[in-house]
């Protein structure tokens, strides 16, 4: 199994990994590779930085899909950056015909802030965008780029969390007309909590929060069914999770944690890509990881060239040692992964990832399996 094969056969590829490993670049490169192999791809990023736009050499990516021209491709590529505000607004419009609910929600200050704040909304919005993309016949593959490390598992937790929360008793305490299911003890606890919340937030803010949850609660069923669909997709056979990492100690530790977090949620990583994990030391065989270089120089080397030749040989030899060390370090993560997980090492590719043409340089690595 190769990454190219994963890209050829799946409906959704989710890229997870620590910050700074080149995840967004690789997600874009996967998009290019898939387009070159005849698929119609949407690369979706939920990381708020402009990285994907930079990697694709595209000016600004918005919430709707922008075509990315891939020269000579038999398929096609589009890209979009999930933006909380527009996504939520669009989501709401698609969810219900009840005009008054929509109007009140849009006017609710808590909704307005909640739908636009950077940090936490992204997972929920990504879920909604995924749902839409899954049902859009324009694309047969979605490559999803997630924010660095810890937030990545939010995408799995998000669908269940929101609907679970809306069921939770606490929300009922917040609802203006108190939807208490059971008896007095329940109601007493709720009263105390309302007192505490009022002391913390003040009556006005508490009122607005109640209104917000009341409105959101009315949309609960719609959220729930969408959430079920996305969750099923995320966990289904058409989806592959790809971990992107590198051999540095900090990143390895984060990658190991990520794998554990995903496993705890019943997800197996299908491919682990160690990016920038070796230096190309044989320019004619870039997929070969050179881990040792013989120190002997040719006997007929002119004396005048000996010193620079020795230093250059030593320089490349040290790089070969570092390749060996990196491979050994990466194995710390690799031993934890299931035997069936594809392992791929990608070297430091100078200057790659600044244009669509450049992203094509990752192609040969996706076609093989190197470690």
């Amino acid at each position: 199994m190769t990454v190219a094969q994963i890209l050829a056969t799946r409906r959704l590829v989710v890229c997870v990994g620590a910050g700074g490993v080149g995840k967004t670049t690789l997600a874009a490169a996967m998009g290019v590779s898939a387009a070159n192999h005849g698929r119609h791809v949407l690369v979706l990023t939920i990381d708020p930085a402009r990285r994907l736009a930079d990697a694709l050499g595209v000016e600004g990516l918005g919430d709707s899909a922008t075509e990315v021209p891939v020269q000579g491709a038999s398929g096609s590529m589009h890209a979009a950056m999930v933006e909380a505000g527009p996504s939520y607004d669009r989501l709401l419009t698609g969810l219900t015909d009840d005009a008054s609910v929509l109007e009140q929600l849009r006017a609710n200050p808590i909704y307005r802030v909640f739908s636009r704040t950077l940090a936490r909304s992204h997972a929920y919005v990504a879920v909604e965008r995924l749902h839409d993309a899954m049902h859009d016949s324009r694309w047969d593959l979605i490559v999803l780029d997630t924010p660095p490390a810890t937030n990545a598992v939010d995408i799995l937790d998000a669908p269940g969390r929101l609907t679970g929360f809306l069921e939770h008793s606490v929300v009922r305490w917040l609802l203006p007309d108190g939807n208490h299911a059971s008896g007095r003890r329940f109601a007493r606890g709720g009263r105390a909590i309302r007192v505490a919340l009022r002391a913390l937030m003040g009556p006005r803010l508490l009122g607005e929060a109640s209104a917000f949850f009341g409105l959101f609660g009315r949309l609960r069923d719609v959220f729930a069914s969408r959430a079920v669909r996305v969750e099923r997709m995320l966990r289904g056979p058409e989806t592959a999770f790809v971990l992107v990492g590198n051999p540095s100690p900090g990143t390895l530790a984060t990658s190991i944690h990520l794998d554990a977090d995903l496993r705890a949620r019943g997800i197996s990583i299908e491919a682990a890509i160690m990016n920038r994990s070796y230096e190309i030391l044989d320019r004619d065989h870039s997929t070969r990881v050179v881990t040792s270089v013989a120190p002997e120089l040719p006997a007929d080397l002119p004396d005048a060239y000996r010193t620079p030749a020795e230093r250059l040989r030593q320089f490349r030899s040290l790089a070969a040692d570092r390749n060996a060390d990196a491979r050994a370090a990466a194995s710390e993560l690799m031993v934890l992964l299931p035997v069936s997980t594809l392992r791929l090492a990608i070297p430091q590719l100078d200057g790659a990832g600044h244009s669509v043409e450049d992203l094509g340089r990752f192609g040969p690595f996706f076609d093989g399996s190197v470690l």
Binding site: G19, G20, V21, T25, D47, P48, A49, R50, R51, D54, V113, F114, T117, L118, A119, R120, P147, P148, A149, T150, R161, F165, H168, S169, V170, G189, A192, I193, V195, A196, L197, A199, L200, M201, G202, P203, R204, S248, P249, G250, A253, T254, H257, L281, D282, R283, V293, P298, L301, P302, Y305, P308, A309, R311, L312, F315, R316, D350, G353, H354
Partner: protein
Amino acid sequence: MSHDDLLPVFDLDLVFVTGKGGVGKSLVSAAIASEAARVGLRPLLVQLGSRTSMEAIFGTRLAAQPTFVGSGVTALSLDPNTALVEYLEAHLPAPRLARLLARSAGLRWLFRAAPGVPELVSLDRLARFLDEREPGRARWRPIIVDLDASGHARMFFDLPRVLGRFAAGGPLEPVVGRVRAMLEAPGTGVCLVGLGTPLAGRETQELYRVLVDQYEMLVAGLVINDLIQPPLPGIVDRDLDQLDQWAASTGAREVELDVDYGRRVRRRYEASRRAVAELRAAVAAPCVEFPRLEHPTGAAALRRLAPLLTGGAR
């Protein structure tokens, strides 16, 4: 390598260290703390949330309360959940209520999910650390905060604006006001961390502009991390060309590969210097360059890097 120093950072009361993911913010935060201790200040290093980066540097998990971790550094991990409990205890009229709220799983979810709340309780906790006194002076100075990746940094600095309207006229107003005062104080600033690669450099520049233009934060310093040193000093292009020609004519393939690799690293170095120059030109703050290290973490790395921050000026 140029020799600015980051002395302005050491004159601050509160330093937020931020930059895109993976640049080495934790290492730089630790280096600032270590150097601050060495020059006789009383730094407190604060890691937000539980991440693994500080563990690799100090060889131990950070505790929830200030604890000495070596290299002259006192540090803690500020977990929003713990900060929430402390906030509740500090702001609720009865301890019983605080316990009740803290025990409710649903409420904990609500607080974690609600925009700005984790940031608010964390910033409130920071404000209380800033207020701690020992006879005649502040107990901790400077407080160095390792802020995780840029997106969350923005949430922090934007907090007074986001919550301002909601807080008005209610019990949150003085809390938000204090946080705003802390962020706007002249003794509060940012140390930006970046890398010397074109893509990373551009993103760092973007972040700088947001910090200065949108949040009006003082950027007191820039650290560019993980920089490669001039490769193969003393070998000139002519050496490479001649050796390459000889190797090609005699079929000495391994020698050709040696030259090719040497040239590639040279080009990489030159691209890095261009990226550094561009970043330095775009960021109006003193800049210190950290070299790439063989072992980029641990006490040895701190010993090597921390003194570069003051350039031996103190």
